[in-house]
Symmetry: C2
Subunit: 407 residues, 2 copies
């Protein structure tokens, strides 16, 4: 892996999840010597839920998962790194079917019990022979650590990303582990990147889906690196039921709140790790909008700021150019009134009521911008709508990485 992002976070201690066995292998989808195929098997009885990209040009993997999710059950997850297999027509579909068939044969299950995700360059069919050989190698390999799996699903990622949370359900403690990859082409709309969550909780697939969808709107849907939405975004959650808790069959059940909160917290932490590994990122930026006409309006205004190249480059340059925040609010196409608008950087109010605050002192703002964590607050003064999104700055590193990605 290349030099870790300055915003990287160390991997926490990651416990095994009962009923989940990760393995990795070298399929060599690119000319590299690293594990790039991840094969996670699940004991019989695991529930699954997922959120998938809303792109109109989704990968065949996304279509496969979309078709399999309603069945609610999973026996394995296969992740290919280095080739997204997107926009590859019938050959791409054939590759997905071949992977599902081979994995199912190893395990002794239905192909529809196999979930598949791929990430990498668009437009090159995934080589079926490499995928099959990789699957065979993985299946006969010893189980690996979460760290190895988190490394194996990465592409331009600069550090492995994983989170653990826990929740009490009755007298049992259930554990959730999530691994995620993503660095560029990050602007999840209804879903995002490749993220995989494993828990030993016993929970009905429909309930897990309801909780995952809710968590998604407050986490993956609230981050952006570069406003570009992938063709392959996938988040899947697998629950093995091995914790022995009273099975959650409704969000009204005792312990459901605690589990939903742990899942939501996990998703938010995973999403923020992706921003921390944003291509070229040197600053982690939180944008909090309040006083909008609705939460949805606040969300769109926050994303307008977060996706503005001029706001992102100003922060990269540690330049307290708050006028660009005004610009981004103005262009969002949402209700806003210039003369009711307030803006703060960190704890410092910079503009209020349509102009700079009286006696505005840039020194504390400049000091805030020198840090790695930047906070921008916007109050529209119109209503009760609020939203928070996270992004990173736009630096030479982003250009370097993306002007020369395939070569």
């Amino acid at each position: 892996m290349i030099k870790a992002s300055p915003l990287a976070r160390p991997l926490p201690d990651l416990p095994a999840i009962a009923g989940v066995t990760p393995r990795v292998a070298r399929a060599r989808y690119k000319i590299w010597d690293r594990c790039d195929l991840t094969f996670v098997t699940l004991d019989e009885g695991a529930a699954v839920a997922g959120v998938l990209t809303q792109s109109r040009c989704p990968s065949p993997e996304v279509e496969w998962c979309r078709a399999a999710l309603p069945l609610g059950r999973a026996r394995a997850l296969v992740v290919n790194a280095g080739n997204s297999n997107a926009f590859t027509g019938n050959r791409g579909r054939a590759a997905v079917e071949a992977i599902a068939a081979r994995a199912a044969a190893h395990i002794g299950c239905e192909p529809s019990d196999i979930f598949i995700a791929s990430t990498g360059v668009i437009g090159v069919p995934l080589p079926i022979d490499k995928a099959e050989a990789g699957l065979d190698a993985a299946f006969s390999a010893p189980p690996c650590s979460w760290r190895e799996a988190a490394d194996a699903i990465g592409t331009t990622d600069t550090f492995p990303k994983a989170v653990v949370t826990r929740a009490a359900i009755g007298d049992r403690t259930v554990t959730l582990v999530g691994i995620i990859k993503g660095s560029g082409m990050i602007a999840p709309d209804m879903a995002t990147m490749l993220g995989f969550i494993f828990t030993d909780a016993a929970i009905e697939p429909a309930v897990l889906q309801q909780m995952l969808s809710a968590a998604n709107t407050r986490s993956f849907s609230c981050i952006t690196v570069d406003s570009d939405t992938s063709t392959s975004d996938t988040v899947l959650a697998f629950a093995t039921g091995k914790a022995g808790n009273a099975r959650l069959t409704s969000i009204e059940d005792a312990g459901a709140d605690a589990f939903a909160a742990a899942l939501s917290d996990l998703c938010l932490q995973l999403a923020q790790l992706v921003v921390r590994d944003g291509e070229g990122a040197s600053k982690f930026i939180e944008i909090a909008v309040e006083g909008a006409e609705s939460d949805a309006s606040a969300h769109r205004i926050a994303l307008s700021i977060a996706n503005s190249p001029l706001v992102k480059t100003a922060i990269a340059g540690e330049d307290a150019n708050w006028g660009r925040v005004v610009m981004a609010v103005g262009k969002a196409g949402e209700p806003a009134e210039r003369d009711k608008l307030s803006i703060r950087f960190g704890d410092t109010q910079v503009a209020q009521g349509g102009l700079a605050v009286e006696g505005y002192d840039e020194a504390p703002v400049a000091a805030h911008l020198k840090g790695q964590e930047v906070e921008i607050g916007v109050d529209l003064g119109l209503g009760e709508g609020r939203a928070t999104v996270w992004t990173c700055d736009l630096t030479h590193g982003y250009i370097q990485i993306n002007a020369d990605y395939r070569t």
Copy 2:
């Protein structure tokens, strides 16, 4: 001025327009020794039309023009460069009123006959004393050339931008000259940048407005540098009537078509010059979308491609990464079907029917990308909707310019 954009175009020969007198002066809005105040006077009887930013946080100049435009008459244009005066509350409004009053006093007209535009940093009130002294100096200065005016309205622009077109109305030839500034914060929605058009044609303001609005949708609304829409975007057209043509009082009049075509051509050329001066630009990119469900849908898909940082950086790197075009189509939120999508780079079809063309040869595409003019064609295969937009690539130059703009 800094090093000219590699995409710069030489200034054409620009004729005087009867009834129009440009002058420039040093108001010194920034610490620089250059003309930054432009004062263009118009003989009595000139008609005016305009299109203005749709930003919800417009500058007081934009509000002033919006209020004055319905009167349809103009005696002068004042342009300040180096300070946009946007988001400056009452002090900004006071500056605009002071400029209008001073200019009107010099000319002997109503303040509402004065049109004002300012460009530069947001959030700093325009110093009234400098503006007034600059106006006085300009009024007593000799008339200047169009080139001097085109230079004086610029900020981060790297070359002066102007276009001339002509049209026959009956037995008279009318002339149109346009000057424009703009380089970053360019993503016109309904209007754009600062652009000023002068013609000796005799035409009713309402007809001029109708033609300008129509031309705008096919020119300024079809360019983007960085997806960021300014608080100050303004295009004004002034018609002095000195050409002696039969006054155009309707778009049905003889010669109206020719004039509208010349105006439209002028606007398109001006808009493309702004893209050619896009901050950090090294490639001029045309994106033509056809086969969409509607023209509006094609326009949104074209802008999704044109604003994609990943598409723009790939072109900067001369990388034939057409998968990113697929991604940008997919994320546009418009009707699209992956398996009907075709993509070409220059004259080379790269993808068709949902995958790369059989025997795809990257060599001609790579050769096309080495040039300064890049063409991307997308056919959605759904309907008759089409649109073309123009943009530039995203390079280190953009980051350099914008991470350090105010210092």
